[in-house]
C-alpha cells in the first residue's frame, strides 16, 4: 500500500460517526484539562487514557489524537492569557502571546495559535505520510555526539531570547543548567545538591519552576501598583477578537516555516517540541520584516512557535511508529497506549498493522480539523476572561498555580518550590535578567549533559569525536558561527548605531 492509498484508507476508516463523536469529545476534554497549568499533553493523555482504552484501537487512538491536540491548545490558551506555560514548549508562546493579550489582542493571539496549529499540523501529517521512511534513516544516524552538538547549538540559540544583555542571558542560562543538575546522577546514581531531600532525588519539578518563574513572577510584578481596573482591555466587538486577514497574511510565512522546522526537529528523538518552538521563533524573528516587534506582542512570534509545537507531533510520530522510540513525554504515553492495544511499534508496524497505523495518521489530521472547528469559535469567550478585574484574577492565578503544581506529583514540596521560584522570577524581572533562557536551559540541560557524557565515554574522553562525525561537526561549526555572530554581530551593530547617532 503506497502512502496516498494508505492515507485515503485511513481517512475512510477514521471518518465514521462514532469516531468523529469521540474525536470531538476527546478534543473538548483535552482543551478543558490542558487549560490547567501543569497538565500538559502527556499528563492530560495519561489522565484520560483509561477512557480511550475502553474502545477498539482505531476509535481509542482517534480519541487520543483529539485529547492530544486539545491539550496542546489548552496549554497555549493559558500561556497567552495568563502567562502560565502549561508545558515547556509553551514557554516561547508566552513571550509574544502574553504581550499581545496585554495590548487587548488576546483573541488574535489565540486565533492565530489555532490557525497556525492547523496549518502546521497539516504539514506534519503530510511530512509523516511521505517523508517517514527517509526521515527515519537520518534519525537513526543521530548518536550521542550529534545530540551533544545539537544541544550546544540549541543552548546558544536560547541566548538569542536574552533581550538586550547577553551577559545576563548567559547568567540565566548557566543558572538553568545548574538547576537541571540537581537530583540523582543517572550515570553514577549519586545524589547531587539534594540536601538529603527525597523529593529532590528525581530533580526539580519542571512545572514548579516554570509556573513559579513565569506566572507567579508576573503576578508579583503586575500587582506592584494598586490595581483598581481590569487586567487588560478587551475589544467588545466579536470581529475584533479574531485575527484579521492582514494578521493571517503576516503570519503565514512564520506558520509555514514553523511547520517545516517543527516537523524536522520532531523527528529527532529527545529534541522535542521545546527546541522546535524556540528554533522556529528565532528563525521567524530573523526572517521577519518587523523583527523589532518580537518580544513586544508580535503575531508572528505566536504563530511560529505554535506551528512548530504542533507539527513536531507529526515528526515525533516518525521514530515512534517506525522504530518504537518515543521522542517526548507524550510519545512515551502514546507508545504505552499502542502497546496496550497489542501493537508493537517498529519497522514492521506499517506492514503488519496498516489497518491501524493509517487511521492513526488520518486521525491526527482530523484532530487538527476538530481543534480548529471547535476552538476558533471559543476564542472570543476565552479572551473575554481578561475582562475580570485583576484583583480577582490574580488570587485565582495564584490558586490555580498551586493546584496545577500540586497535581503533577501530589507533592506539597513542589508547592514550596513554586513559592521559591515565584520569588526568583520576580527578582529576575526586577534585575532585568531574562527568565526564558533559564527555563529553556533547565529543559535542555539533562539531554545535553547525558549526551556529552555518553559521547566522552564513547571516545575515551576525546572531544575530537565531535569533529569526526559529519552531522556533529556541521552543528558544532554552526554553533561557532552563531557564537561569533552573537558576540561580534551585536557589537558591530551597536558600533553602527553609535556612528549613526554621532552623524545625526
Amino acid at each position: 500500500m503506497n502512502a496516498i492509498d494508505g492515507l485515503l484508507h485511513g481517512l475512510q476508516s477514521a471518518i465514521t460517526p462514532t469516531n468523529l463523536l469521540w474525536l470531538i469529545v476527546g478534543c473538548l476534554l483535552g482543551t478543558l484539562v490542558g487549560i490547567l497549568p501543569g497538565l500538559g499533553p502527556p499528563a492530560t493523555i495519561s489522565i484520560l487514557l483509561p477512557l480511550a482504552t475502553g474502545f477498539d484501537p482505531a476509535t481509542g487512538l482517534i480519541m487520543m489524537a483529539g485529547i492530544y491536540y486539545g491539550a496542546k491548545y489548552g496549554g497555549s490558551t493559558t500561556s497567552i492569557l495568563l502567562n502560565i506555560p502549561g508545558e515547556s514548549s509553551s514557554v516561547v508562546t508566552c513571550i509574544d502571546g502574553y504581550e499581545m493579550a496585554k495590548q487587548g489582542r488576546a483573541g488574535q493571539a489565540l486565533g492565530i495559535a489555532a490557525i497556525g496549529s492547523f496549518v502546521a499540523g497539516t504539514i506534519g501529517v503530510i511530512g509523516l505520510t511521505f517523508l517517514a521512511p527517509v526521515a527515519a534513516d537520518v534519525a537513526v544516524n543521530f548518536g550521542p555526539p550529534e545530540y551533544s552538538a545539537l544541544m550546544v547549538f540549541a543552548l546558544l540559540l536560547v541566548i538569542m531570547l536574552a533581550g538586550d544583555s547577553m551577559l545576563k542571558g548567559f547568567i540565566a542560562m548557566f543558572i538553568g543548567l545548574f538547576l537541571s543538575t540537581i537530583g540523582t546522577d543517572l550515570f553514577s546514581g549519586e545524589q547531587r545538591f539534594t540536601g538529603g531531600q527525597i523529593e529532590l532525588a528525581g530533580g526539580i519539578e519542571f512545572i514548579a519552576l516554570s509556573v513559579g518563574i513565569f506566572a507567579i513572577g508576573e503576578v508579583l510584578v503586575n500587582i506592584e501598583d494598586k490595581t483598581e481596573h481590569k487586567l487588560f482591555t478587551v475589544p467588545s466587538k466579536l470581529r475584533e477578537l479574531l485575527p484579521s486577514k492582514k494578521d493571517i497574511k503576516k503570519s503565514t510565512p512564520a506558520m509555514l516555516q514553523g511547520g517545516i522546522v517543527g516537523f524536522l526537529i520532531g523527528i529527532l528523538p529527545g529534541a522535542g517540541s521545546t527546541v522546535a518552538s524556540f528554533v522556529s521563533y528565532i528563525i521567524a524573528k530573523k526572517t521577519s520584516r518587523t523583527p523589532e516587534e518580537f518580544g513586544k506582542g508580535s503575531i508572528e512570534g505566536v504563530a511560529a512557535p505554535e506551528a512548530a509545537n504542533n507539527s513536531e507531533t507529526g515528526g515525533a510520530m516518525v521514530p515512534l511508529l517506525t522504530m518504537g522510540i518515543p521522542g517526548s513525554g507524550t510519545g512515551a504515553v502514546l507508545l504505552g497506549a499502542l502497546v496496550l492495544y497489542g501493537l508493537n511499534p517498529g519497522p514492521l508496524l506499517f506492514h503488519e498493522h496498516a489497518d491501524v497505523v493509517w487511521p492513526i495518521i488520518a486521525s491526527m489530521y482530523l484532530g487538527n480539523i476538530a481543534l480548529l472547528v471547535m476552538n476558533l469559535p471559543m476564542v472570543p469567550f476565552f479572551a473575554k476572561l481578561l475582562n475580570t478585574p485583576y484583583k480577582v484574577l490574580y488570587p485565582a492565578i495564584l490558586l490555580i498555580s498551586v493546584v496545577g503544581v500540586y497535581s503533577v506529583n501530589f507533592s506539597i514540596f513542589d508547592v514550596g518550590l513554586l513559592v521559591v521560584f515565584g520569588l526568583l522570577g520576580y527578582v529576575m524581572r526586577k534585575l532585568d535578567i531574562p527568565p526564558a533562557p533559564l527555563v529553556l536551559a533547565f529543559v535542555l540541560g539533562p539531554i545535553a549533559e547525558n549526551s556529552i557524557r555518553q559521547s566522552l565515554l564513547l571516545s575515551d574522553n576525546s572531544p575530537v569525536i565531535y569533529l569526526q562525525r559529519p552531522i556533529s561537526a556541521t552543528l558544532i561549526g554552526l554553533a561557532v558561527v552563531l557564537l561569533l555572530l552573537l558576540t561580534f554581530g551585536r557589537r558591530a551593530r551597536k558600533v553602527r548605531e553609535q556612528v549613526i547617532e554621532i552623524d545625526a
Binding site: 490547567l36 547531587r192 510584578v221 480577582v392 500540586y406 520576580y426 534585575l431 527568565p435
Partner: protein, 215 residues
C-alpha cells in the same frame, strides 16, 4: 495594562524581563520656542526629574555590581561543594557526577565577575547611559506582601488542607494587600477556593490536600 504603561514610562521593567530606557528629561517633541517659554516651575520640575534619573542610574550601577559579586560568590560556594562532594571523574576517568556542575559554577563565577566589571568600568554604566532598573521600595513591598501571603498559604496547605489555606490566602489579599470593601468582590474572592475545590477535586478527581489536622 494601564499601570504597567505608567511604570514602564518611568523606565521600568517590561514583563519579559527587558528594561526600557527612561525617557530623556523634557519633552522630546518640544519646539525651541516652547523651550524658551519654560517657566521656573517647569525648570525646577526638570531638574528634579534629572536628579531622580541620576539617582536611579547610580542605584542601578550599584545593584549590578553587587549582583555580579553575589553571583560570583554563589558560584564559588557551589564550586567548592561540587569539588568536595562530587567526583569530577569516574573510575575509568570518564566524566563524573561533578563534571558539569564544576564547569557550570566556574562559568557562573566568570559571568558574575564580568557583570560587576562591566557595571564598574563599562563606558555605558559610567556615563549613565545604561537602562535603569525600577526598584521603588513601596511597589516592591506590595509585591512581597502577596508573595508572603502565598508562602503562608503553602505552609498551611498540609495541616489545614487546600480549602482553608486557599481562604487564608484570599483573606490576606482582601484585608492586608488590597483592603477591599466591595461586598460583591469579597464574596467572589471568598468563593474562589471552594469553586476550585469543586472543579478539581470533585469534578476532575485531582485529589487536593484535605489537611492532616482533620484527617
Amino acid at each position: 495594562m494601564d499601570q504597567d504603561i505608567v511604570r514602564r514610562s518611568d523606565g521600568g521593567v517590561a514583563p519579559n524581563g527587558e528594561v526600557e530606557k527612561p525617557p530623556v528629561s523634557g519633552d522630546a517633541e518640544q519646539t525651541p520656542a516652547e523651550d524658551a517659554e519654560q517657566t521656573p516651575a517647569e525648570d525646577a520640575g526638570h531638574e528634579a526629574a534629572d536628579g531622580d534619573q541620576e539617582r536611579d542610574a547610580r542605584l542601578t550601577r550599584r545593584v549590578h555590581v553587587v549582583l555580579g559579586l553575589v553571583i560570583a560568590g554563589l558560584g564559588a560556594w557551589l564550586l567548592y561543594r561540587s569539588r568536595t562532594e562530587l567526583a569530577f571523574r569516574g573510575t575509568n576517568n570518564e566524566p563524573g557526577p561533578g563534571y558539569l556542575p564544576v564547569l557550570l559554577t566556574l562559568g557562573l563565577i566568570g559571568l558574575g565577575l564580568a557583570l560587576s566589571a562591566v557595571w564598574l568600568w563599562g563606558p555605558k554604566a559610567r556615563k549613565g547611559e545604561a537602562p535603569t532598573l525600577s526598584l521603588q521600595p513601596r511597589h516592591m513591598g506590595r509585591a512581597l506582601l502577596v508573595w508572603l501571603a502565598l508562602l503562608v498559604c503553602a505552609l498551611l496547605i498540609e495541616p489545614l488542607g487546600f480549602l482553608l489555606a486557599g481562604e487564608v490566602l484570599v483573606l490576606l489579599v482582601i484585608v492586608v494587600v488590597e483592603r477591599i470593601r466591595s461586598i460583591p468582590l469579597i464574596i467572589t474572592l471568598l468563593l474562589l477556593p471552594p469553586a476550585m475545590y469543586l472543579l478539581f477535586d470533585t469534578l476532575l478527581e485531582v485529589q487536593l490536600p484535605g489537611g492532616t489536622l482533620w484527617y
